[in-house]
Symmetry: C2
Subunit: 150 residues, 2 copies
DNA sequence: TCCTTGTTGAAAGAACTTTTCAATAAACTA
DNA sequence: TAGTTTATTGAAAAGTTCTTTCAACAAGGA
């Protein structure tokens, strides 16, 4: 299963960085893994407790910091909910549904020219970027159409 | 003066939306106007008090909400400081210096093709986007070079 | 199995943001 | 300009979110 593979990869990364592979950390990891939506610390805590009943909210915060540092999780920013997190894949390009708040990542080709042009016009060096797109996912488009006809 | 023009424009927008043009609001408006950096509510409060000594922090929060709603100010999101604000120009493209935290906006050409390609691959409709670039401003690049040679 | 030490969860504390409410001042009227 | 109405304000209190502290615990190596 590809989900398990991903989780093993994340667990290994933790170990390789010298951190212990604990039940609370595995729980947070798995929650992020199983939810493509951005979840906030409290939501992750609730879901995580079903996997590791003793899990404390403090540990969720600590683990999210750790995972973000290791590049295994990403902080997301949106107007209605500030610090939510998602499992990090390879890039930093998020497509967020404004209705159901589902978050997916998309491969981002064609940004390089833009970055080069900004570099030339401003004199800034550019180290990283964040591109968030906001719109409606196919499901929500359909639901909206159905509601309109009802 | 272009700064004044911009400020008048913002003040008019407030009035046209049916809100009163008060001293505290003008102070917040002017602070955002005069600082291209992203400022957090507390910083805006400190600077605003020099313009309107009675200004309270609560009013800063309220005014920032209001200005964001009217599209006159924008919330910025960065790793180390979550809710900072900047005067809103026409777009949503920020270039943030990782060292001095200066924020500038840049015109963003060439994103349309990327958006269209994402639309086709995902089936999402896309309503808005946020592009944040992170790097070093020219001043900080120079300072860094100087330090290295010292 | 035992030991070492990184990790945990609860409680307390700090930081940040919102609500409440009486006093104030902006805008309109006469 | 003075008077009236009502949105707005600031202080205090309350509510949230996040961090620090510290004794108990458990992961991983011996
Ligand atoms: Mn934010
Ligand atoms: Mn944020
Ligand atoms: Zn959706
Ligand atoms: Zn700089």
């Amino acid at each position: 299963m590809s989900v398990d593979t991903q989780q093993v990869r994340m667990a290994q990364a933790l170990r390789e960085a010298g951190y212990r592979l604990t039940q609370p950390r595995l729980a947070v990891l798995q929650v992020l893994q199983e939810n493509e939506a951005g979840l906030n610390p409290e939501e992750i805590h609730q879901l995580g407790k079903t996997l590791c009943p003793s899990l404390g909210l403090v540990t969720v915060y600590r683990t999210l910091d750790l995972l973000a540092e290791l590049g295994l999780a990403r902080r997301l920013h949106s107007e209605h909910q500030c610090h939510s997190y998602a499992s990090a894949r390879t890039d930093r390009h998020y497509l967020i549904c404004e209705r159901c708040h589902r978050v997916i990542e998309f491969p981002c080709h064609g940004l390089d020219e833009l970055l080069e042009s900004v570099r030339q016009h401003t004199g800034y060096t550019i180290n990283e970027h964040l591109l968030e797109l906001r719109g409606l996912c196919p499901d929500c488009q359909e639901n909206q159409a159905v509601q309109r006809n009802a």
